[in-house]
Amino acid sequence: MASMKEIRNHMKSVEQTLKITNAMYLISSANLRKARQQLNDVEPYFEKIESTISDILYHSPEIEHVFFDKRPEVPAEKRTTGFIVVTGDKGLAGAYNHNVIKLAEQKMKQCANVKLFVVGQAGRTYFQEHGMEIDTEFLYTAQNPTVTRSRDIGELMLDRFLEGSLDEVYLIFTKMMDSFHMETLCHKLLPLDPKVFKKYQEDTHYRQHVSYVPSTKAVMNRLVPGYVKGDIFGALVESYCSEQNSRMTAMKSSSDNARDMLQSLRLSYNRARQAAITQEITEVVGGAQAAQ
């Protein structure tokens, strides 16, 4: 049996860790409440923008616009694919960062030329350590997503796409399905592909041609950047919320584990103490008997 001192040291270190994990649990649950509020506000916009775009594409399939150009003339080995990977800024969030990175690596294998744009420090460090080239100018944090940040990211992507240094752009992020279930998704951002969108409202009762005021090009020039911005913002908010949620779950289970461990340690400590007392009494009694 381990000595009393050893057990006491072990207990102390577990207690210290418990304090940390518990504090992290409290912080992430407070953050989660804020993030979920934001998610609730954003979700209708996010869903509406998707359904509206899909509706528009559905009713005007013959659009020719630079944002819809799939560039079939570029051969597969020369295509450059951009990935926006949304990870957390910190680790200790269960499998959250790992899942995102795994999906990103899996998708990257299928592409000839890859450009990585990583949001969040955890992903950035991982890809740098593994010798993968990432855009070092692209420094955005995953904390407290704002519309301004998503606008900047969106503009960068649109610029790169228009100047031809990117042929496709994908967005890898984590979506909150419900409070216990999260899913890592890969979403095609550019060029706009009508096939990507779910068919909303299959049975719309108008099948007429949609007109664009003042012109298709003018509307698409406004609509697509707005869509890209909205999509990125939605992804950032979803990811932030998922990160906080998985950190909360991870910290809760580690706090619970620490408590269980403390309980069993306390038990062995008491046993060791009792054994020591019993031994002392035996020694005293033995000594007293020998003195008689």
Partner: protein, 134 residues
């Protein structure tokens, strides 16, 4: 919609669902000027400029200041996705004036094309706000 003269209007921003409900008429700031919408309008998709938007509910005209965005108009409903939407009473006159000054100052300096567009957009937003409060 029970009343054939009404259509369903949705004004949505990234931070909140501004308005969802019936409306009788709608005037929105499109790229080439104001555009009026009644029920049974032809299907139209258009871009929205920062500016003033009006919609009519029960004979009352509601006044809103919106940011850039786009609108999908169908015979029975209109969906407006805009970056911001505010009622006139929510607008802080002094703040808008400050913002206008800042934007004008930025426009006088050399900037990248993106910064230029941002400043222009900020100026347009501030002007729309100020116009409503005057």
């Amino acid at each position: 919609m029970d009343n054939p003269k009404h259509f369903c209007l949705e004004i949505i921003t990234p931070t909140k669902q501004f308005y969802t409900g019936p409306a009788k008429a709608l005037i929105l700031p499109a790229v080439d000027g104001q555009m009026g919408v009644y029920a049974n309008h032809e299907p139209v998709v258009t871009a929205i400029e920062p500016g003033q938007l009006y919609y009519q509910v029960d004979e009352e005209w509601e006044h809103v200041v919106v940011g850039a965005g786009f609108a999908e108009i169908k015979p029975d409903c209109a969906i407006l996705l805009v970056s911001t939407a505010e009622r006139p009473e929510e607008i802080d006159f002094n703040r808008a004036q400050e913002a206008k000054k800042r934007a004008e100052e930025r426009l006088r300096q050399k900037q990248s094309i993106h910064e230029y567009y941002h400043s222009k957009a900020a100026l347009a937003r501030a002007m729309a706000r100020l116009k409503t409060r005057k």
